[in-house]
Amino acid sequence: MVLPKAVYKMIEDVVGEEWISDDPAILVAYKRWMEGAGELPAAVVMPESTEEVASIVKICNRHKIRYTCFVTMETRCPEPGMLLFDLKRMNKIIEINEKDMYAVVEPGVTRTALAIECFRRGLQYPVASVVGSALVGAIAKGIEGHGYMANRFSDGRRHGLAAEWVLPTGDIMRVGSLGTGAGWFCPTGPGPGLDGLISRAGVGIVTKIAIKLYPWWGPRELTVETLINPKTGAIAYRTKLPEDKFKLLLFQMPSVEELGWEESLKKLGEALYEISKAEVGTAVFKLFNFPIIIEGCSTMEEFWEKYVTGFFQKETSRIITVFIEACNREDLEYQEGVVREIIAEHGGKEAPREFYDEGWLIGKCLQLDLATTSILLGISSCRVQKASGFGTSACGVDSIDTVVKWGMGIPEVRREFVEKGLILDAFDSYWIVPTEYGHMAVTENLIIGDLTVPESRAAVLAYMDKMNERNLRERFPDIMFRFHFYGDEHVKRIGPLYSNFHIWQMKVKKALDPNLVANPKMYIIPEE
């Protein structure tokens, strides 16, 4: 489906000829994404400013053109004939305010760029979302995402401050303190928190947002050491952080082999609970072992050699990672002391030295510069591309106990797919990240199949469906952010179980987007 010529011309008049295209060779680059393919957009436009975005959205309203926006990863036009906003040109860091500890950014700013610029100023951007993209897609959709450092900083949903937001009608709204001319520092108010409406592209496009920053006691510029795998020639980069203020600790908790799946998970969960409740550890989490390991190995063969011995299943199944950021040596020693005490109380021990130092070498790879690349900068690739990617299942964020309980059921769901050889026996490939001093926790289970092989792909999708059914049957909270993936039938099924939220969401959607142009299928599918 093509965009009407007249509409194309109007949009072209807004952005200039260079920044809109409906050429198939341009469009095709926006069709596929990791978990599948969407529809081809009818055209892609790259605006440079809020005003351009607003003008184009108004055009879409007048001419009933459905649109969605994107910066990275999720292009996914769910239906044909849509206009796709690629917001990468809007990539300015507008302000880094050191006194008030926030940064104001446009949607095209990359996570790492912001983090690096913050380090230079003695500030830290607590990267949320370890989704392996280099670009901050989240801003365009309203700051989502979870990061490793959630114990101390919480996750992306708490990081956004005031925002500038192009509503689905094309009107420009300023949320929070920005709305009354009081600056960027507060997202909520005046009165009811309208920032509660900001989410995916279904209710407009955030074109600027302020993000909370925190003090940084580390180096203003990172020192990176290049390591080369003598066997394969693969490159690893390792960052040296000052040892009196930063420490990465890896602990092996009693294994599945020793205690069985449930008991060992319970022990690990308890340790996580106690550590986070003790208010130590900037990052505290149960490690995603397999994705990190596969990424860390320079080739699949390198990984496989060790995998078939059962090494990973045995040695890396119950790993707790703690990353300490301290303001001084005494602080570091204190936090480390508490962590070690709790680990010992729960039967754990520090992982072998080789997990750290030679971490990137075959078979022992857990490090992969975990501290900097994964934790501080949130950019472990984590897409497991050389195995061809992965699927994901989870339950919704809730207490540590809830997500541990949820994890108990993974073997049962996995079994049939592993037995058929359709997915990797990626033992324990899920993370638990305590959030806000252990008040909540995030979990996600990666299913590593071969998405290029139809049977395996089908198995991965079947696994995800099976886990959804299990969540429903056993009444675990749903992963709410995946509706666009599971489709409207799923939503209609579960909606009544969740206070009919889908109906309220539909009402809000229709109120804010009367012409239903702002990616209606992404948000909730309204009855037409």
Binding site: M173, S177, G179, P192, T402, F501, Q505
Partner: protein, 495 residues
């Protein structure tokens, strides 16, 4: 329009006749508060005891287009949000008093709106937990209302955003539909669900807990809320730093929240001026108040250091960090309160409990008080202090009677700045002067960049006249959740 008697009869059928009050004296009490919002009498006050009754009342209100003003706390009230501006029914939730759950494992508390700080805090103490409370709420203050209205808590390190520590809720919207937010929403009933209902986000894409916060009951009536509680430290030390200069206070508060174990030396941390501090510390009134007012330094920064696991060691580390800060900023923190030695233990108590004496501390001085409060980023706080004094001078309000309270919030990313203006309610001249100061100073502070995020009373007009497109969206939201505009009309949605 339905005849009042018939309406009252219908209400009595819902809650029972003893829970529908029409006594003129009682109605008179509910018609006004300590704000400058014009008093208006309600038709009646109704006391539901459960969610079903709340639903039925809302349905009646919708059916007969009768305004409904929710109230949960006991008096005194200061903000005008509980005055039934268009008459109608006051729905008083104070009898919904159940503490539904104290979850020591997940550190949460689930309470109905009628549960007050005075009732809840002792229960929590027994469980080894504490709330991240606002500063010295009255004992009769509703816990749910306080958090729903985003009253600033005094331990910033625990506050991850502006709505924290509010978690999940059950609410009846203005349509009469019930709803549960976050992971309390489902799947299924609360008993069926396998979760602890601690995640406030959602369900779906809307963060309802944010939408309902600061709404003054204009979108729905919350019938229970889950809030975070925190571990009671095993060691707790209180420190004081006197100041002459406001600029330096903010710098110090910032530093205490940007350094230390996990980024914060301080647990509780706030600043009071000598007036407010004297009011709350004076045990013998008014003699001790007069003495303290003179002996206390102009400003006092008060903060606590807490120890949890390996408590002594933690406190030691925090104190070392404190000394580093003190040296850097040339501060002299002491464990003895300058100007009021011997009051340290009392202060520590005051930071842990609601105000239980009569009258409420804000009313002690003159019998009434009006509040001006707003939010500001750290860099602006200092310049937002002097305007109130300028306006006070202009109208002849005694500047030494202005109480000031500065609270760092959201892990040090913002400040709640509050001025308390006591006045004699029986003196019309004083009332008028105070009202003028209130109105002018509020306008001036908004113009200078103060963010009145909770626009009570006349602030609503001042703030929303500047809000632009936000008004359109607010209207749409209101029309969805309260299509007949029966919930607290005249409050907030004044555009």
């Amino acid at each position: 329009m339905l005849e009042p008697e018939i309406l009252i009869k219908k209400l009595a059928e819902v809650v029972g006749p003893e829970d529908v009050v029409t006594d003129p004296e009682i109605l008179e009490e509910f018609s006004k508060d300590h704000s400058f919002v014009k008093p208006t009498k309600p038709l009646c006050v109704v006391f539901p005891q459960n969610k079903e009754e709340v639903k039925q009342i809302i349905r009646l209100a919708n059916e007969y287009k009768v305004p409904l003003t929710p109230i949960s706390s006991g008096p005194p009230h200061f903000r005008g949000d509980t005055i039934p501006r268009e008459g109608g029914i006051i729905i008083n939730l104070s009898k919904m008093k159940r503490i539904l759950r104290i979850d020591t494992r997940n550190r949460t508390v689930m309470v109905e709106p009628g549960v007050t700080f005075g009732e809840l805090v002792p229960h929590l103490e027994k469980s080894g937990l504490r709330l991240n409370m606002p500063f010295l709420p009255r004992a009769s203050k509703s816990v749910v209302t306080s958090y729903l209205e985003r009253e600033p808590p005094i331990i910033p390190k625990y506050q991850f955003d502006y709505v924290d520590p509010l978690l999940t809720m059950e609410v009846v919207f203005g349509t009469g539909d019930e709803f549960r937010t976050g992971t309390a929403s489902g799947p299924g009933s609360i008993d069926e669900m396998q979760c602890d209902m601690v995640n406030p986000f959602g369900p779906g894409d809307i963060k309802y807990f944010k939408l309902l916060s600061g709404a003054q009951g204009t979108l729905g009536i919350v019938t229970w809320a889950m809030v975070k509680a925190e571990v009671m430290p095993t060691i707790r030390k209180i420190y004081f730093v006197p100041f002459e200069d406001i600029e330096k206070i903010i710098e110090s508060m910032n530093r205490l929240l940007r350094y230390g174990v996990m980024g914060s030396v301080a647990d509780e941390i706030l600043t009071l001026n000598n007036f407010n501090l004297a009011v709350i510390l004076a045990e013998k009134w008014p003699e001790e108040f007069t003495t303290l007012r003179k002996s206390l330094p102009p400003w006092m920064l008060i903060f606590c250091i807490g120890g949890y696991r390996r408590a002594e060691e933690r406190v030691k580390v925090q104190e070392k960090c404190l000394m580093e800060i003190a040296q850097e900023l040339a501060l002299e923190p002491t464990q003895s309160m300058p100007g009021a030695p011997g009051k340290e233990k009392m202060m520590l108590e005051l930071l842990s409990k609601p105000w239980s004496k009569e009258p409420y501390w804000k009313l002690r001085y003159k019998g009434s008080c009006c509040e001006i409060f707003f939010l500001a980023p750290p860099s602006k706080v200092a310049c937002l202090i002097s305007p109130i004094y300028e306006v006070a001078v202009k109208y002849g309000y005694p500047t030494s009677d202005i109480g000031c309270y500065i609270q760092s919030i959201v892990q040090g990313h913002a400040y709640h700045v509050e001025f308390d203006l006591p006045y004699n309610p029986s003196d019309p001249k004083e009332v008028e002067i105070t009202r003028k100061v209130f109105m002018d100073a509020s306008e001036l502070l908004i113009n200078k960049g103060g963010f009145f995020s909770r626009p009570y009373g006349p602030w609503a007009q001042m703030v929303y006249s500047r809000y632009g497109e936000g008004i359109t969206v607010l209207k749409k939201v209101k029309d969805i959740f309260d299509p007949h505009h029966i919930l607290n009309p005249g409050a907030l949605f004044v555009f």
